[in-house]
């Protein structure tokens, strides 16, 4: 069974630029999550989708971050414009039941 796929794996941008991350969850997993993991900290949930509907986006900075999950499969997370404090690893996870399966993440560096 293929795991959660994410791209790109690494991204370096300057502040105020835009960036987008892509996630392809495990086939059949209805729930998809985006997490932000700052170095030395635990993952922090940004947004949770159930199929193509948003379950929770209470911690998503909506003035600069946006996410969508069209057709209830792939998802994209966008940051526009980026700030220095957005430097982190962005993890995508999916689940069918309780266990969450994480992708390898995208490491974002904002200069």
């Amino acid at each position: 069974e293929a795991g959660v796929a994410q791209s790109p794996r690494y991204k370096i941008i300057e502040k105020r630029q835009s960036v987008a991350f892509w996630c392809n969850p495990i086939s059949g997993h209805a729930t998809l999550y985006w997490y932000q993991q700052i170095l030395g900290q635990g993952p922090k949930l940004l947004i949770q989708f159930q199929n193509n509907g948003v379950v929770d986006d209470s911690q998503l900075p909506k003035d600069r971050f946006s996410a969508e999950r069209l057709k209830g499969v792939d998802s994209t997370l966008k940051i526009q414009p980026a700030k220095l404090e957005d430097s982190a690893v962005y993890l995508c996870a999916s689940s069918q039941a309780l266990e969450q399966f994480f992708g390898p993440g995208t490491r974002l560096t904002v200069l």
Partner: protein, 109 residues
């Protein structure tokens, strides 16, 4: 509210035991445990669903005291492969996890 993990870091020699604690100030439906190695994605270890229930995975087991809103992860006869950062994720509903800051575990020969 982020759960509190203790200790922050542990150094062991192969074969030694360790306990990692996770405490929440809110009522919990479940506690999830993950291990993350440097530069890799978190990997699921186990879920604790019921108060006082213990789950096991090889030489790693855990308990969940629902009334105290606490969980503990027990690593027995540690192996080099156990090295990494352990996170507990507490769930208050809808399978939404709030992760602790992590416990760094280093196992040396």
């Amino acid at each position: 509210q982020q759960p509190v993990q203790s200790p922050q870091a542990v150094i062991l020699r192969e074969g030694e035991d360790a306990v990692i604690n996770c405490s929440s100030s809110k009522a919990l439906y479940s506690v999830h445990w993950y291990r993350q190695k440097h530069g890799e994605a978190p990997v699921f270890l186990m879920i604790l669903l019921k108060g006082g229930e213990q789950k096991g995975h090889e030489k790693i087991s855990a308990s969940f005291n629902e009334k105290k809103q606490q969980s503990s992860l027990y690593l027995t006869a540690s192996q080099l492969s156990y090295s990494g950062t352990y996170f507990c994720g507490t769930e208050g509903g809808y399978n939404k996890l709030i992760f602790g800051a992590g416990t760094r575990l280093a196992v040396h020969p």
